[in-house]
Symmetry: C2
Subunit: 105 residues, 2 copies
DNA sequence: CCATAACCTCTACAATGTAACACTAATGAT
DNA sequence: ATCATTAGTGTTACATTGTAGAGGTTATGG
């Protein structure tokens, strides 16, 4: 089973589509979690996901922006979709009928 | 941030309410994930959650069933609810607009 | 009084999560 | 030309979580 952070990366990549690369994924994750996501965490996890065949990465072209250097593009493989799907299903299932907010024990 | 398995335990406990104890939580998790959940994993994680103050556990009375020995009852603390809530929110947010099934790349 | 059922505990190891630090390449201003 | 700045990536080391396996304890029912 994939872990939480791995899921976050895969989902963010999937959402970003053509525009998924290291830095953009990072921004997406930070937005979703509302917490900083360190650079190191991101690339290490990306490497692991690639090693497991859940994502595919390749170096893109440099853009013509100030500092616009080559990006490491990412896309989710079919196997990655399957894993993410299983993760999400498990979370959803165990969370059915639960509303986390507004509990007063 | 709590991990995936930790979330599963907290959510299952919350769902089970008064009937949450080691073995019942285990069954709930297995149902949600459709995968076996080893006994060891469960109690180790329960211990860690308790150490972090996310759940509270105590030994209950033995029931009058064959082999019905004392159960380790569990309940989620306010802090646990908060953590689980944050986890769920992050997952939901990064998953918005994604439908994992039926992708044909 | 013993086999069996329903639980819990402990130990050890593998996999994930995370931070700190170092690095490369292009632009734009001086 | 050269140098600060911007946009990106990579590496190493360690902390935290995830997971299995084997072993214990207490009760019932025969």
């Amino acid at each position: 089973m994939i872990g939480e952070f791995e899921y976050l990366l895969i989902a963010a990549t999937h959402r970003l589509g053509e525009d998924a690369y290291g830095a953009s994924i990072r921004r997406e994750v930070e937005e979703a979690t509302e917490r900083p996501c360190s650079i190191g965490s991101l690339y290490t996890t990306l490497d692991r996901l690639e090693a497991k065949g859940l994502v595919r990465t390749w170096m893109g072209e440099a853009t013509a922006q100030r500092g616009g250097r080559a990006k490491r593009m990412v896309s989710v493989t079919a196997k990655g979709i399957e894993s993410a799907s299983a993760f999400y299903r498990a979370i959803s299932r165990v969370s059915r009928d639960i509303s986390w907010e507004a509990q007063c024990p």
